[in-house]
């Protein structure tokens, strides 16, 4: 498509065979200087939008370092070390700028993946639920969203409610899970329908992370059984959750419609809080 000049100036017979040969030679180059897998035109330096595939995130660790050993040896002993510095040996070859060594998340040890996901959950939690200077800017606050954290929090809340229920345990879990999961989707759609500008999955992720205070409240209520104490704890947890969700939701819509976007959030957290108090 881009070789328009080759139509008028045939420097060499431009058929598909020569293109394949060129690619093969590039692959051979990369074998000697980098990992053996060449991804189709994915530049590691670009920052894809947060809603793209979960394998590419904005702070993905740079590709493994270039060692002097052969590439086959490197494939078998993929580094289990923490994120290494960018490969220096690749800068001289054409491959690093064009195709680049891929992020090798498929062949790393499972513990690495789990540690990295857990670390991401913790850092997102710190950004969302605790005070930090990025709160007023939703674009920065949850740039590296993920859905594992919300999943854990929703399931934990359902299990905690189901545990403390004395009858109809499975129905309680179903109601809690459906309420939270469907509620997050509907709240996001509500903002979009009101003409607001948010990213769908980023908002789902944020609403899930804001459940963390309610999770803590549910845990404490499981242990203590006094109604008055439960009411106080749940009210505190509600206030904390709402405070966490407020800047994100309110900055996503037109200021005239702020209350219209925030009210359903309050309603959802209120109903979850009520479930926590009432289920004993």
């Amino acid at each position: 498509m881009s070789n328009s000049h080759s139509d008028t100036i045939p420097l060499r017979p431009s058929n598909s065979q020569s293109d394949i040969d060129e690619i093969r030679s590039l692959i051979d180059d990369s074998v000697h200087s980098g990992p053996a897998v060449v991804l189709p035109a994915r530049h590691p330096a670009t920052t894809p939008p947060p809603s793209s595939s979960p394998f590419i995130s904005s702070n993905i660790p740079p590709p493994p370092p270039v060692s002097s050993s052969s590439s086959l040896q490197k494939l078998q002993s993929v580094p289990a070390a923490p994120p290494p510095p960018p490969p220096v040996g690749n800068s001289s070859s054409i491959v690093a700028n064009g195709f680049g060594p891929p992020p090798n998340t498929l062949t790393e040890p499972v513990l690495d993946t789990v540690k990295r996901d857990l670390w991401r959950i913790v850092s997102n939690l710190k950004l969302v639920v605790f005070p930090n200077p990025f709160r007023e800017d939703p674009g920065k606050a949850l740039r590296d969203w993920d859905l594992w954290g919300p999943f854990f929090f929703i399931v934990f809340l359902g299990v905690a409610l189901s545990w403390s229920a004395s009858v109809k345990k499975s129905q309680v879990f179903a109601v809690a899970f459906a309420l939270l999961a469907a509620g997050a989707v509907i709240l996001t759609l509500n903002v979009l329908l009101l003409g607001g500008h948010i990213i769908f999955f980023q908002s789902l992720s944020l609403l899930g992370y804001c459940l963390f205070p309610l999770d803590v409240g549910a845990l404490i209520c499981m242990l203590k059984d006094n109604v008055v104490a439960k009411v106080i704890i749940v009210c505190l947890a509600l206030a904390w959750s709402s405070w966490a969700a407020y800047p994100f939701m309110s900055s996503a819509v037109n200021p005239n419609r702020k209350a219209l976007a925030l009210y359903p959030v309050l309603l959802m957290y209120l109903s979850v809080g009520f479930l926590i108090i009432a289920i004993d």
């Binding site: 809603s51 229920a165 004395s166 009858v167 109809k168 129905q171 309680v172 109601v175 759609l189 509500n190 979009l192 329908l193 009101l194 003409g195 500008h197 769908f200 037109n254 200021p255 005239n256 419609r257 702020k258 209350a259 219209l260 009210y263 359903p264 309603l267 209120l270 109903s271 009520f274 479930l275 009432a278 289920i279 004993d280």
Partner: protein
């Protein structure tokens, strides 16, 4: 008004699209919407002119931007409509909606009502049991949530649709979105009613629910008269609407606050 134009700059309809199947101006969905042609009046208000603008934004069933036209309200507009739904006298709700019916009221009023009925229904049984039994064998009945959701969502979806089709069949010029909007706002009076029904005195509960049911039914009936002429067939519709709303009120009392 000018601030809204600042926010609704021309590319805003692209940003709201959910990444799913997007039917760009497909004829099938347009046909389903418009009844087969551009000249068919579906969304225009009955007394005012035909609003061409609202039909042009339909981009298919799966595109969010085709539904944003029904949520084009601000906070003060919604509050205004809510307050006007509390006063059953004066059948001018459809004039108040004008060319801008909203489904925001329908969705969130019904959802709030579902939550209130489930929560306060449980509280009411707890209070009554504490008064009579003095035992603590009460437990939270999650079935109330299911019953409330089925009842309220079912009523608020089925009844306006049924009235829309019936009135269309009988020749009147009805509009589905405006009916949904009106019935949605008519349910708003039951929200403070649910709170008041916590009082554990039986006779007082019946008085409260009858007052609320009457107010809500009058609201619905008086507003329907603007779509109905004087003929006897259509008068039956008004009576039916009144009775249905009263039936809903009695269902709320009997199921959730026995």
């Amino acid at each position: 008004m000018d601030e809204s134009s600042y926010w609704n700059h021309p590319t805003s309809h692209l940003l709201g699209s959910v990444p799913a199947v997007v039917n760009e101006e497909s004829e099938a969905s347009y046909g389903r919407r418009g009844g087969g042609g551009r000249g068919y009046q579906t969304l225009g208000p009955p007394t005012e002119g035909f609003d061409q603008q609202s039909q042009n934004n339909w981009k298919g069933v799966f595109s969010i931007s085709s539904y944003t036209q029904y949520f084009d309200v601000d906070t003060d507009v919604v509050v205004n409509r809510l307050i006007s739904s509390f006063y059953p006298a004066g059948g001018d709700f459809f004039n108040k909606i004008g060319a801008n019916p909203d489904l925001y009221g329908l969705i969130w009023i019904t959802t709030t009502l579902v939550f209130m009925l489930a929560a306060f229904g449980n509280c009411a049984t707890y209070l009554i049991q504490k008064r009579t039994d003095r035992t603590t064998s009460w437990s939270f009945d999650v079935g109330y949530v299911n019953a409330a959701a089925c009842g309220i969502y079912g009523y608020s979806l089925v009844v306006p649709v049924a009235f829309y089709f019936l009135l269309r069949y009988l020749g009147s010029n009805a509009s589905l979105v405006r009916f949904l909007c009106m019935w949605g706002y008519s349910l708003s009076i039951f929200i403070p009613t649910a709170f008041l029904l916590l009082i554990p005195v039986e006779i007082l509960r019946w008085i409260i629910i009858l007052i609320a049911g009457t107010a809500s039914s009058c609201f619905v009936t008086l507003n329907l008269t603007s779509y109905i002429g004087g003929s006897n067939d259509l008068r039956m519709m008004m009576i039916a609407a009144f009775l249905l709303q009263m039936a809903l009120a009695i269902f709320i009392k009997a199921w959730f606050f026995p």
